[in-house]
Structure formats: C-alpha cells, structure tokens
Subunit: 453 residues, 2 copies
C-alpha cells in the first residue's frame, strides 16, 4: 500500500565494483580483488539492508566498459547477481539494468518475473537503450540504432513485457487436487502482440508475480528519455549538478505525467550523488584529493572522449576543451553530453580539472563533507522540489556505503526524513508505489487459453 504518513525520502545504493570513483580500486580502503566474489556483493547488499535502504542497483553495458587497463572490471551480469543476492537478503529491493535494444521481451519479462518470485517481490528493472557501437558489434550490427528508434523499440518492448506480466491473473492457479485442475485457463491469456519490432504470442510461462510488474526505473534524461519516463517509469535516476537544474528537471518531468493519465506521486525522481564522507570537512576533502591523485589521466581522457563524442587524445591536460558537437549530433547518452559540456563551460575547467570533477561520479553530483553536511544537502534538495530521494553512489566500496549507512542514515532518521524500520515487504511498498492492475483482465477482447486452445 502507498504510505499515507509524512513524506520521507527514498534511498537507492548504486553498487559499482570497488566504488564509483574511477581510481577507487587503487585506494587502500577498497578490495578490487573481491569484485568477482559473490560474498563481496552479498556484504554490500546486506549493508544497504542494515541501513533500511529502499534498494540496491546495478548498472550494465553489453560490451567491455572503458579501458580495462586502468579501471576495475566487475564481471557479474545484473540479473544473475541480483538473483543470488535475493537469496541472502530479506527486504532490500534489487534493481537490474537490462537493455531493450539487444534483448527479446519474452526473455526479459520472464527473467524479471522469475527474480520477482525469487525475491518475494523485490525486483526492479532499470530500462535502458544501448547506444554504443561497441555494444552493437557484439550483436551482429556494425552501427547502433539511431536514438529515436531505440526509444521506439523500447516503448514497444515495454508494451509487450507488461502484457506478458499480465498474461496470468493473480488467482489463475487453482491447485484443485481433487478435480485435477491446476490452473483456471480462463485466467491465462495469449497476448498475440504483432508490432514493428516484435511478434510475441504468449502467455508468459511464469505466473503473475508478487509485485505484478517489477518496479520500472529509467535513467535517460534526454527529451526522448524524459518522455519515455513520463509514460512508463516509476523511479528515475538522474544526474543533476545544481539545485536549480535539479528543480527544473523535477518540475519538467512531473509535468509530463498528466498527459499519460498519471499523477505526480506515481514517479519518484532520484538524483545521483557521490558522497565523499569524512568525520570533518577537512578529512572529506583530503579523501577526495587522495582519490583524485590516484587518477590515471589517460583513462580519464578516454572516458571523457566517450562522454563528449569527441576524441581528446593528445590534447594538453592543462588546456581548455576543444569545440564540441551539438547535442543533436550525439547518438549516445545525449543528456550526459550536455551536462558535462555545461559543467566545463560554466566553471571554466581545464581538461585535467574536468577529469578530476568527473572522477567520482561520471557527471553525477559529488559532495565532500561531514555526515551532517551531507544530510543538510539531501534535506535541502528533498524539501526544495528537487528530489524524492537519492541514488547514492559511494566513491569507494565497501567503506563508502558503510559510512553512509552508519553515519548519515541515523541523522536522516532523527530528522524524520527516513524510515526507522521497513514497513513493507516489496520494493513497490518501500517506494510507496501501487501494485499495477492487470490490464488484460478488463480488456474484454483478450481471449483466454480456455477459448483459444
């Protein structure tokens, strides 16, 4: 049930190998040798659960990320890893990134349904499109799909997936041992989808799940991305550097919901923040500097080249950015391009300074300070119309998450901003979002298996 108490914030822990800072793996507080060890991620998820966080989240890509010469590769695929974590946690939500570009909706809908059963209703899907040539080349294509077409495909993918999740009514399983009737075939339906991208007959071979649908999450902030979010997403991870930008994004996104017949409380906005926590401000700044000092400039330049769609190799690190293309000519992550370009322009940063600024959060906001100062920042954004909660991106792991859980969460709780116990069992309950109605039940035209086979 959606909560009816005072508005409280929602916190997601974004798990990332040795941490979000690109040099985290070189820092003595991290354990990069454990990033292919299930127990390492088990410890992270259990820490998040100890902190009563709403969820943990894994990003994903369908090709080798970045440059493995200089940064720690993980190795776990999100759906398999989160399924394993479901078995060793009780309450925390489990959000996996899966692309709509190189997957089939039957497989994806089924795996999320399976994870939702496995976890007792804690599955979430961060819906992304794949926008890099490196990914396309792992799937038989030399060029990636154009940005607008990726979103067209994503929309049809969601139509199919939601219909598949609805192909079983909640009470379809009868288990009548006496009469030998396992399921009521009047309540199981083919979906018979025939569209531009997919043809899927259904039904799904998984009964309807505890949450009905996994929590639907989205993270693209381009025009296409925002419109897709307004139509489908229930939580949005976003990268915003300033309160004003975050307020504008929040208002913009919420204002788009009405045209899809949705209300503002049906979509939560969670800006990312990479908190560099110290017991004093000086200690936090020293930790931030330690991490910056461990950065490999070549790596930062390669990452920046990718974000800006511009080859920066060989340019002087202490010089300015070269001329950049326009956002409309970027076919990858459009919103990240614009954010980075504006950050450099606004603050007049050299390449080296920009690489340092992006090191901890890849464009997400970085904040170095004490737990009290961090809580102030979160409270300000939360109460000033910029956020419904936050996507917490610890620069170093596991310590950065432990510091947040042990030192920041109690402050938020004392201020009445965060739960002091889990009151729900499912991820939707944590986020205060309703369980979706089954759309096929009311669609009189949907024939059931009883009439078609």
């Amino acid at each position: 049930m959606p909560s009816t108490g005072p508005r409280t914030l929602h916190l997601n822990a974004f798990l990332m190998n040795a941490g979000h800072h690109d040099a985290a793996w070189r820092h003595p507080r991290t354990q990069p040798e454990r990033v292919t060890d299930l127990r390492y991620f088990q410890q992270l998820a259990q820490t998040a659960e100890r902190g009563l966080l709403d969820s943990v989240f894994l990003a994903d890509g369908l090709a080798l990320w970045g440059n493995v010469r200089h940064n720690a590769l993980g190795g776990f695929e999100p759906l398999t890893l989160l399924s394993a974590l479901a078995a060793v946690t009780e309450r925390v939500g489990l959000i996996a990134t899966v692309s709509t570009t190189f997957n089939e909706p039957f497989h994806t809908a089924r795996k999320f349904a399976s994870l939702d059963h496995i976890s007792g209703g804690r599955a979430g899907w961060n819906i992304v499109t794949s926008g890099t040539v490196n990914e396309a080349r792992n799937f038989g294509q030399d060029e990636h799909l154009e940005h607008r077409l990726r979103y067209e495909r994503a929309r049809e993918f969601l139509e199919v997936a939601t219909k598949l999740w609805d192909s079983w009514e909640d009470d379809a399983i009868l288990l009548d041992r006496e009469r030998g009737v396992y399921a009521d075939t009047d309540k199981v339906r083919e979906i018979d989808h025939r569209g531009d991208y997919f043809g899927v007959r259904g039904p799904l071979n998984v009964p309807r799940t505890p949450q009905g649908y996994p929590l639907l999450v989205q993270a693209g902030s381009s025009e296409d991305g925002k419109e897709f979010a307004a139509q489908y997403a229930e939580a949005v991870f976003t990268a915003q550097q300033t309160l004003a930008d975050a307020q504008a994004f929040y208002k913009d996104l919420k204002s788009r919901l009405a045209r899809y017949g949705r209300t503002e409380d049906q979509l939560l906005v969670l800006p990312g923040i990479a908190p560099v926590i110290g017991s004093t401000e000086a200690e936090a700044r020293a930790l931030e500097q330690e991490l910056t000092d461990l950065q490999v400039p070549d790596y930062g330049l390669a990452q920046l080249s990718g974000m800006l769609g511009t080859d920066l190799t060989g340019l002087p690190l202490d010089g300015p950015l070269p001329d950049l293309p326009e956002e409309r000519d970027i076919n990858g992550n459009k919103s990240r391009f614009t954010l980075v370009a504006e950050l450099a322009r606004r603050d007049g940063l050299t390449l080296r300074e920009l690489i340092a600024r992006l090191g901890a959060g890849r464009g997400h906001r970085v904040f170095a300070g004490t737990p009290e100062q961090l809580a102030d920042q979160l409270e300000e954004w939360f109460t000033q119309g910029a956020a419904d909660g936050f996507n917490i991106m610890p620069p170093h792991l596991p310590g950065g998450l432990e510091d947040f859980v042990d030192d920041v969460v109690p402050i938020l709780q004392r201020r009445g901003l965060f739960r002091t116990e889990y009151t729900g069992r499912t991820l939707r309950e944590h986020y205060g979002l309703a369980r979706p109605a089954n759309r096929l039940v009311t669609a009189a035209s949907a024939p059931s298996l009883a009439t078609t086979s």
Copy 2:
C-alpha cells in the same frame, strides 16, 4: 583434476516442480503450492548436496509447457533460479538449460560466466535447440527452424560462446595498484567472429571464470544431436528404456568422439531414471499405482500427441495407437518420438497403458522397487557399459529426492560406487573433467586489445 581412483558413478538430480510424474502435484506427498517459492528449491538443492550429488539440473522451454489446466507450472527461469541457489549451497553443481535457437551468444556466454563466478565454478549449461511452434511464436516467427539448421546454429553458437569465454586469459587481471594497471590488455582479446548466424566482436565483459567454460551438457539423441554431443558435450542426459538400448547408445556416442580428437573419458553418459522408491517392492508398486490413478487422461493424451507429432484427441483410450509418421518427418524431438513409438509397438500398449508408462518419466526409464533393487539396477547399467552415471528424476518432490539421498546413496557408497565426500570444489572436478585450455592463447593470430585499441 580428473580423478585417478576407481571409476565411480555420477549422479545428477533433475529438479521439476512437484516431481516428474505428471500427476505428482495431486499426490499428498508433494507441495505444489511452493513451486514459486525459492525456499522450496533451496531445500531440494540442499538435499542433493547432503547426498553429495554431482549436480542439480533444470530443464526449460520458451513457451508455456503442456496444459496448465492439469499440470503444475513452475515459473522460475533456470539461470536466475540457479544463481539464487548458488548463494545458499556450497558444493553441488548447477546446470541450467538454455536454448541456442532464440538467444544471442553474447548474452548466454555472459550469464553462464556470471553464474560460474557466483557459484565458485559450479555452472553447467544444458545446450538445447528450440523445436516447437509455440516457442517460435514468442520470438516473432510463425514456424520453427528446421531441425538440421537448429543444430547448425547451435554449433556456431558454441564456437562464439567458447571464444568469448577464452577472450580473457586466466591471469589477465594484474591489480597493480601502484602503477595503476588493472588488467594486462595483452591478455584480453577481441574474437571478431563473423559467421552465418552471428557477428560478435567481443571480448566478453566478464573475466575468465573458475571453470574456464561451464560444464557443457547436451540432451538430444537424434543423429544431429549425437554428432553435436560428440563434438562439444561433456555430459549427456539421455532416455533409454532397456539395458541393450542403453549399451548401444553408449557405445555409439563414445565411438564418435575420436573424430573430434576427443577421448572416451571426456564425455559422460547419464541415462535418466525415474525411481519410484518403497521400503518393500509392494510399497513401491502401490505408490506407482497411486500416481497412475491420479493421472488426467486428457492431459496424458495431449502430452502424447505432442511427443508423437500426431493429434490423438478423441481416440479410445483402450484402443491401440493409430499409424504414426516416420522419424524423418518429425521436426521436434526426434529421438523421443522414436523411443515412445517403439515402446508402444514392442509392448503392444493401448493408449491408456502408454500414458501410464510415460507418466513418471516422459519416456525416461521408470523403476519401482526398494533402495536395494534400485542400487542393483544402477550398478548393472554402470558396470555393463550402459552409463557413467544417472540423471535422477524423482517422480514426486521433495520426498522422492529425500528417499534417494537417504536410502539409495548409502547403498551405492557401501558398494564403493559413489563418493563419500566431495573431493573437488567445481562441477568439472565432481565429474572428473579437465578445465579447458584457453584456445585463443595459442592462436597466434588472435590480436589482443593492446594491439587493436
């Protein structure tokens, strides 16, 4: 390391919802209300592990199986379920069925690599092709791929998957914090595969796994299937009704290995057996009869129609089988068709009798008797050149697996036929199979990332 002790048998527990008997869910010893509860499968896997079994195994299909009106549907997708089970078991192998027909090798190779890391080297892949129209229609196709082409695609799929698993050398990760070098890019390679079915550049975004490759399992016994097994499989699940048939199959399959440069000990043959266990033979037969009495004839007829590629609806249950097509005209499971047709012909069975005979094992051998009698049967096949081990298909679960572990395993151990403790940690070690060499290391032509990017 392959074992050098006396030859012992290998046991796999084939897990199936309420049990393999099609009426198991109606029997009082089963718990069909728990088949979408992770803890149920956790209990089954832990029972198998308590019995020191080599592995547990999940079948799969990409459409709703059979007729949900009369039989228990599970709902878990194998890779997600086995990932969850990896977190709550320590030693038992975890074999997932995944089709090569409607999947992409990059995704499949990656998920198995992830499961192999998650489980510390306990992943196995039962490689199947998808041969039903119902599956094709969930993936945008109105007809399924012809049998021979499915195997062509499967071979290329395996070529790509094994290259992806080899795209990282074992010691590619350096973790040199001092110099900031995470991986040795001389030891990470693009695979640049361009074939008839797939174009995959690679490398995989998962480092090489504890086992190198998951254990490769195969279960098709047609000509195409046997040839595929001889080339790639390390364990084969097969359905054989008689000792003579099993000996012939065993000899045939092993004799095919040499032409792929393989030795007979590189492929283990595990016939399926559905053991109906009682403390006396009479008790076992009574249990078998109880299960038969719970069968729904309509369901059995529908299943049989599917296996025989012939609509049997409306035929008198106490009459004989109608004329059947030839195996060459069957495009689904060719070997199962032939087995069932021969079983009916040999024993002169009516439709009702055939449905009863197939109820417990869907064509796999059914044996009702005491633990001692069952051990005799297993020993006979194992010592008479018919089997290297067995695929145990309990007719009812969880009790049928518990009976096997508690009552049959100790007899096999006393006879020196089965391990008394796990001596290995990985699934390959349990089965006595070597860790595969990395083929790309010796292929001088394979450029590494260091030279290509």
